[in-house]
């Protein structure tokens, strides 16, 4: 991509605890840049899903600061949050498809929420169904789809609106290796179109399939930076003065 990289997400010493339990994320600081492909790895229970929840604005941190698209989203009034959420696509670990809606309607949901007219969404949704290999299951309800098919619907729903950032939580967890590669190719294609992609996975093999990706590793709620992907934390954290 020829467009200059922009910092679209910035975490600054973010901590997250549920209730009075110990922190599931501690002193997490990083930046994400536009048009980059990031993997978030870590063992089960490392805090990947919690970090993603903060990213897709389903959770507020217990401490620290988060800026997205140039705005502090922690102090942002909640009525402004939907506009930010619309700039993201999310693939949930448990798919979160609407049970009583067809595959077509599930995929069309982000467009409808954004006010796209029915006449304008039919073609892109049909294209997307075809692209994920589910054109013949357009009218099927999630309960009648296999795990892999549900995952593909969830991915199609996440990318249909051409989000600026795609956040995927174990997106290949329920598909066979061949489909996993296909889905990664979809993410790469979106990435080439300018979408920042963040894929949380514990599958080490997957990391090698996207050569230009950057890796963020979470361990016991602490973030490490094995590929130098994180141009953050701020200098004061590393003892070199503030840069924010």
């Amino acid at each position: 991509m020829s467009a200059p990289e922009q910092e679209i997400v910035q975490f600054d010493n973010v901590g997250l605890r549920y209730g009075t339990e110990r922190e599931v994320l501690s002193n997490v600081s990083f930046s994400l840049f536009s048009s980059r492909f990031y993997f978030l790895t870590g063992a089960s229970g490392a805090g990947k899903t919690s970090l993603l929840k903060l990213l897709y604005l389903a959770q507020r941190p217990s401490r620290g600061a988060i800026r997205m698209f140039g705005r502090d989203v922690i102090t942002l009034p909640r009525d402004k949050l939907p506009a930010y959420r619309r700039r993201m696509g999310v693939v949930f670990q448990d798919f979160r498809l609407v049970d009583h809606l067809s595959a077509f309607d599930n995929i069309a949901l982000p467009l409808r929420v954004s006010g796209v007219r029915e006449a304008d969404l039919r073609e892109p949704v049909s294209d997307m169904l075809e692209w994920v290999g589910l054109a013949h299951r357009a009218e099927a309800r999630p309960a009648t789809l296999s795990g892999g098919e549900q995952q593909r619907v969830a991915i199609a729903r996440a990318v249909i609106g051409r989000p600026e950032i795609l956040i995927a939580d174990e997106p290949t967890g329920n598909v066979d290796p061949e489909m996993a590669v296909k889905l990664l190719r979809l993410f790469e294609a979106l990435n080439r179109l300018g979408t920042t992609v963040v894929v949380a996975t514990h599958d080490i093999q997957l990391l090698r399939k996207v050569p230009d990706s950057m890796i963020m590793r979470l361990s016991k709620g602490m973030l490490s930076d094995p590929t130098g992907a994180l141009k953050y934390p701020p200098r004061r954290e590393s003892g070199a003065g503030g840069n924010t």
Binding site: P82, R86, L101, V113, G115, P124, V159, G161, R162, A189
Partner: protein, 310 residues
């Protein structure tokens, strides 16, 4: 595998409304399957009956007050018929001279006998009974207590046992009871509105609980509180509209039945309670008010619940 579909920037980044049938489909619901339309129908039917009753009583009181305002009755109580006749003529002179009196009419003895017939009988049975003479007086002003007192003083000299009463005084307890009934009906309407709103509040909370996952997904996909509230509003609007029309039909039918029963009494006072055109307009507004209350309550319930989430 093909390249990803080129859909361009199809998504409007603003907060365009998410409404209509497609939006409503987010909430699985079988219309008329739930109790809400029936609850609203019952509320509207009861409100229509209560409102009709209140309006009818109000009209009855107004008509009675209007008819009785500025009228009085002089009773000349004298057992001797000749003396009574002399006193009636003297009272007529006094009334004719008084500037506060617009006119008067000596009620014929036959009319009085007819009024008393159910209690005293007729013909020979009533011949020996001393019946007071009655004079209907029309005053120039309503509730002119000063003039009535002056006339009463004047009558005392010519007919010591004569008395004058404003007719409104006789019916005051009846009118007071009718007014109390009217207030009760209005209180009933207020309570029905409150209970209706409470029922919608419970239904909306129940629906929110039952659709929590869907709502969370819509939220995470960028749906605003207003969009989600609108889905519930539309749902309750349809329920309330069906219930409102049904309730109106039931209420008007019940009211018509009661009206025909009261009309059979052939009472002049009851006839004064007929509904006017403006009353019908108010009654037709009852389902619209019910719909407005239901939609507003549903909206407020949903918004208040959503505000507790991120």
């Amino acid at each position: 595998m093909k390249r990803p579909p080129t859909i361009g920037r199809a998504v409007d980044r603003g907060l365009a409304p998410f409404r209509g049938r497609r939006a409503a489909r987010l909430l699985p619901q079988t219309r008329l399957g739930g109790p809400m339309p029936w609850v609203i129908a019952i509320m509207v039917a009861l409100t229509v009956v209560a409102a009709s009753g209140a309006l009818s009583l109000s009209n009855m009181v107004s008509t009675a007050r209007g008819e009785l305002a500025g009228t009085a009755t002089v009773q000349v109580v004298e057992p001797d018929p000749e003396l009574r006749q002399e006193q009636v003529e003297a009272v007529g002179d006094v009334l004719g001279r008084d500037p506060a009196v617009a006119g008067f009419r000596i009620v014929p003895q036959e009319d009085i006998a007819e009024l008393l017939e159910p209690w005293l009988g007729s013909g020979e049975e009533i011949e020996g009974v001393p019946i007071p003479a009655l004079i209907d007086v029309e005053m120039r002003k309503a509730d002119d207590g000063e003039a009535l007192a002056r006339i009463e003083n004047a009558l005392r000299e010519i007919a010591p046992r004569a008395r004058i009463d404003a007719q409104s005084v006789w019916l005051a307890p009846v009118l007071s009871a009718l007014s109390a009934l009217k207030i009760t009906a209005l209180a009933l309407i207020a309570m029905l509105a409150f209970v209706g709103a409470a029922a919608v509040w419970l239904a909306a909370r129940n629906a929110l609980g039952g659709n929590r996952d869907t709502i969370e997904i819509v939220h995470l996909l960028g749906g605003s509180d207003d969009q989600i509230a609108r889905i519930f509003q539309r749902s309750i609007l349809l329920d309330a509209a069906v219930g409102g029309v049904l309730g109106l039909v039931i209420g008007v039918a019940a009211m018509s039945f009661l009206g025909s029963q009261f009309a059979a009494l052939q009472s002049g006072m009851v006839a004064g309670g007929s509904l006017l055109a403006v009353d019908w307009v108010l009654i037709l507004l009852v389902p619209l008010f019910a719909i407005a209350i239901a939609v507003y309550t549903a909206r407020m319930t949903v918004l208040s619940s959503l505000r507790k989430t991120l």
